[in-house]
């Protein structure tokens, strides 16, 4: 027996004693997704945006205080500083001209300066019908680009919109990718250098550049010597893809991974548990994000057409109790699609508290006054039984659905839950095939105008190729007018008033039942400093050069 043990120890020992020492100029981070492409203009994915924020910078982005700041430009263009101005376009329409200046020291990783040539090439790709760019609307709005010299240019926009300062343009290196694009624009999406030669130093102009890419598994970044900003503290960052969040937690605890990106890492319930068990080793930050959990109401369903019914449904839900029970009160209740952290949030819009008595009264008033076997019926004998469709496999949503079923039952509403795989769910949603309610989440932007979800012109139908995201089929001429005006209003005070009006209308009509704003859990080792969760689309990696390890 002892000989067997000795052999076992001899076999295991070399595996256990040779852990390679890792100097702390290397940080190992993990996240749960790998992006479909590394090309910055083809497709949008959080995983790509998080990693590319380390290797490149947009012209402007929101910072952790939700203020717009310049990254690749030298000054945010505004009407006040003269870098933007209203112009009259051909045909008499009003447009905007915006002057931009690229950071003088900005160079690609191979030393070639970032220039207006890259801007022109990026716009060419963005507008080309065969390039594979998913949403070309932003590019189409740019009518012209006039270069002044290598670093300065003027963009002409086809309309006046309040968010003209936010130039979220991700440049493509013309000296590398233009020959590929010119050879065959239709094949550019497959043959672009971001995907075929990802470690080419000339693709990066941020603090880091790719030195190794193992598709679906690992990305290794090293300092980019041509970065014009402060030198990053870590020489090397290894990004591992671990899809199972349980395995992610184990990796963190075992030290195989130093830090899990909060935006694509542990779920809130995992984060809360982690905080209790390992709070002495990690700083756990629960940051409300612009991920809006809500229920779309199919307004074509006669049972849900009366807004008193929708108000009753919302008042019958105890969202505070759900947050307390499932998320220890950390997940803030939503009163609409605008986050309370957003400067455009209006506290004046109606907020619904849990009030089952008032819910019953409203349902009575809407004609559903007769209770048969605990379920309400109207005078025509219609049974108040509705279906809630949601995504299967999302444990939190499935739990919330069960609570809704129980709480609505208490006011006489029967709920049938239908959980579908995400791809089936998203097709049903796009085709407006859900019969009653659909529970899912939207990712929104700071000061984002919810045109695509609330404007009557955005109702998906066969005629428009099932595009637009107004899945409830909400039609309100006043809302359409307010949404149109919000986009065009440049005066912040007047825009705030329009946002408030939009929130008021939404809260009265309730085409969507607001639930929560999801919270990202950032589990940060105590020695890792400089990670600042933002809570919006421009994630924490946009300040990666400030991350450092303090022993």
């Amino acid at each position: 027996m002892s000989r067997v043990l000795a052999v076992l120890v001899a076999l295991i020992l070399p595996f256990t004693l040779t852990t390679p020492a890792r100097a702390k100029d290397e940080l190992v981070v993990a996240m749960t997704q790998y992006p479909a492409t590394w090309n910055p203009v083809i497709g949008s994915m959080l995983a790509k945006s998080l990693i590319q924020s380390m290797t490149r910078r947009p012209f402007t982005a929101w910072d952790a205080d939700w203020k717009l700041r310049c990254h690749l430009c030298v000054e945010v263009p505004t009407l006040e500083n003269g870098r933007a101005r209203r112009v009259t376009l051909e045909g008499g329409k009003e447009g905007l001209e915006v002057d931009l200046e690229i950071q003088p020291a900005a160079r690609w990783g191979d030393g070639v300066p970032v220039s207006v040539r890259d801007v022109a090439f990026t716009l060419e790709v963005g507008k080309h019908p065969l390039s594979g760019v998913a949403s070309a609307e932003g590019y189409r709005r740019i009518l012209a680009m006039k270069p002044h010299d290598d670093k300065r240019f003027t963009l002409t926009f086809d309309r006046v919109t309040f968010d003209y300062s936010n130039i979220d343009l991700q440049l493509l290196p013309a000296h590398i990718d233009k020959p590929v694009f010119d050879a065959d624009p239709a094949e550019y999406r497959n043959r672009n250098r971001f995907d075929t030669d990802s470690t080419n130093p000339g693709l990066a102009h941020g603090p880091y550049r790719f030195v190794q890419v193992v598709p679906g598994s690992q990305i290794v970044l090293e300092r980019n010597p041509t970065w014009w900003g402060p030198t990053p503290h870590f020489r090397r960052i290894v990004v591992r893809i671990v899809e199972s969040t349980a395995a992610l937690e184990a990796n963190l605890l075992s030290g195989s991974v130093d830090y899990v990106l909060g935006e694509l890492g542990l779920t809130l319930d995992q984060g809360l548990l982690f905080e209790k068990r390992h709070g002495q080793r990690f700083d756990v930050v629960h940051k409300p994000a612009l991920i809006y959990e809500h229920i779309d109401v199919n307004l074509d369903n006669p049972l849900l057409a009366d807004r008193r019914v929708r108000q009753a449904l919302l008042m019958a839900i105890d969202r505070e109790a759900i947050s307390r029970t499932l998320f220890e009160g950390r997940q803030p209740v939503a009163h609409g699609g605008v986050s309370p952290l957003d400067p455009m949030f209006s506290p004046a819009a109606r907020q619904y508290r849990h009030d089952p008595a008032e819910a019953r009264r409203l349902l009575d008033a809407a004609g559903f006054s007769e209770l048969r076997a605990g379920v309400r019926h109207n005078a025509k004998g219609d049974r108040f039984s509705i279906e809630l469709t949601t995504t299967a496999g999302n444990r939190v949503r499935e739990q919330v659905a069960q609570v809704l079923q129980s709480q609505w039952r208490q006011v006489g509403v029967e709920l049938r839950i239908r959980a579908e795989p995400p791809r089936v769910f998203s097709q049903g949603l796009n085709r407006r095939a859900f019969s009653g309610l659909a529970m899912y989440a939207w990712v929104t932007r700071p000061q984002g105008v919810p045109r695509s979800t609330l404007h009557s012109g955005e109702i998906p139908s066969e005629a428009n190729g099932w595009t637009g995201q107004n899945y409830p089929a909400y039609r309100n001429a006043e809302m359409d007018r307010v949404l149109d005006a919000m986009e065009r209003e440049l005066d912040e005070g007047r825009r705030r008033a329009l946002f408030a009006e939009m929130q008021r209308l939404h809260a009265e009509d309730l085409p969507v039942l607001p639930l929560f704003f999801r919270v990202d859990s950032f589990v940060i080792p105590k020695k890792l400093k400089g990670v600042v969760p933002t809570g919006h689309v421009n994630g924490s990696t946009l300040s990666v050069e400030n991350w450092r390890w303090v022993d």
Binding site: A134, R189, I241, A246, A247, R423, T453, G465
Partner: protein, 327 residues
């Protein structure tokens, strides 16, 4: 023998062709297409964008046209691009196939080395103490869900003891020696291989045990003992050789599974293999990757079948590869 192999190869080709039609059809008929997913995730996409992208990806054409276009290119060696990785399909699948073969092949080999002797040991005295213990261990191995087993392994050896890494393949520095590189790989392979092997050992031990019990009961064993052959020789030369035929069939058929990957183990240990890639491809509507991945798995299964037949003929002289059915 030559005619037999040629007939099997022709059968395999026909099966592959049929499978390509079935798989392409099934993936094509699944609800949702990639453009639906893009529309759902991007509020700025217009109907014109959606129509443009459907035309670009060929999604506006009928399924049979898309299949014929794919098959035509595949015959010229162009298997297309993976939409979820933005790279040629084979560029994604080849390295993953190697990773999966390394992981699953090692687990398979360890499982055979452990399971065959264990099965024989248990079969010597069915119902005895050893048999009872082996059965208990086998049932534990077979019943433990791989997800749970993987977590247990990670928690024990990576988190609590800190002996082994929790996942990934490990970074091999460019200047590392061959032995250092092998050690880094081995450390990262230890837990996933152990997890996979533990589940397989249970299965194979049960097969081996049943086959050995059956063989030990045969008349030729009684005859061998009556002739004075030693017990060890009777067991090895007679019982084991006869028990091996059905077990080899099962093992050879498992060979196909090595290529389709071990989805749960690969996911839990972040091991970049084919199982995870195929699963993701199906979820994300990545036609080309899913199709080629599944066809490779089919080919491997057919190869496994072929190996099973060859192995049968090798260990059992009564089996002839030249005789057709009814001959």
């Amino acid at each position: 023998m030559g005619r037999w192999v040629a007939a099997r190869a022709a059968g395999a080709l026909a099966t592959l062709l049929l499978m390509s039609v079935v798989v392409f059809g099934l993936i094509g008929l699944m609800p949702g297409d990639p453009v639906d997913l893009m529309v759902a995730g991007d509020p700025n996409m217009t109907s014109a964008d959606a129509a443009r992208l459907r035309a670009l990806y060929g999604l506006d054409r009928p399924l049979h046209e898309r299949y014929l276009a794919w098959a035509g290119k595949a015959l010229q060696g162009e298997l297309g691009f993976s939409r979820s990785f933005g790279r040629p399909v084979l560029e994604i699948l080849w390295p993953r196939l190697g990773n999966t073969l390394l992981l699953a092949g090692l687990a398979f080999a360890i499982a055979i080395v452990v399971a065959l002797p264990l099965g024989m040991l248990a079969a010597r005295r069915p119902g005895g103490r050893v048999d009872y213990l082996v059965n208990l261990a086998c049932f534990a191995g077979v019943s433990a869900p791989p997800f749970w087993l993987a977590l247990l392994m990670i928690t024990l050896f990576a988190v609590a003891l800190g002996w082994l890494p929790a996942g990934g393949m490990g970074d091999v520095p460019t200047q590392a020696s061959w032995s250092d590189a092998a050690l880094i790989r081995a450390r990262h392979l230890a837990l996933p291989v152990a997890t996979l092997a533990l589940v397989q050992i249970g299965h194979y031990t049960r097969f081996m045990r049943a086959a050995m019990i059956e063989a030990l009961r045969q008349d030729f064993m009684r005859t061998a003992r009556a002739k004075g052959v030693s017990e060890a020789r009777a067991v090895w030369d007679h019982a084991f050789a006869n028990a091996l035929a059905p077990v080899l069939t099962v093992l050879a058929l498992s060979f196909g599974g090595l290529f389709s990957g071990a989805l749960i183990t690969e996911t839990m240990f972040a091991w970049p293999g084919t199982g995870k890639a195929i699963y993701q491809a199906i979820l994300e509507n990545d036609f080309n990757l899913a199709l080629v991945g599944l066809l490779i798995a089919t080919l491997a299964t057919l190869l496994g079948n072929l190996l099973a037949d060859l192995a049968q003929a090798w260990v059992d002289p009564r089996v002839s590869l030249t005789a057709g059915p009814g001959a």
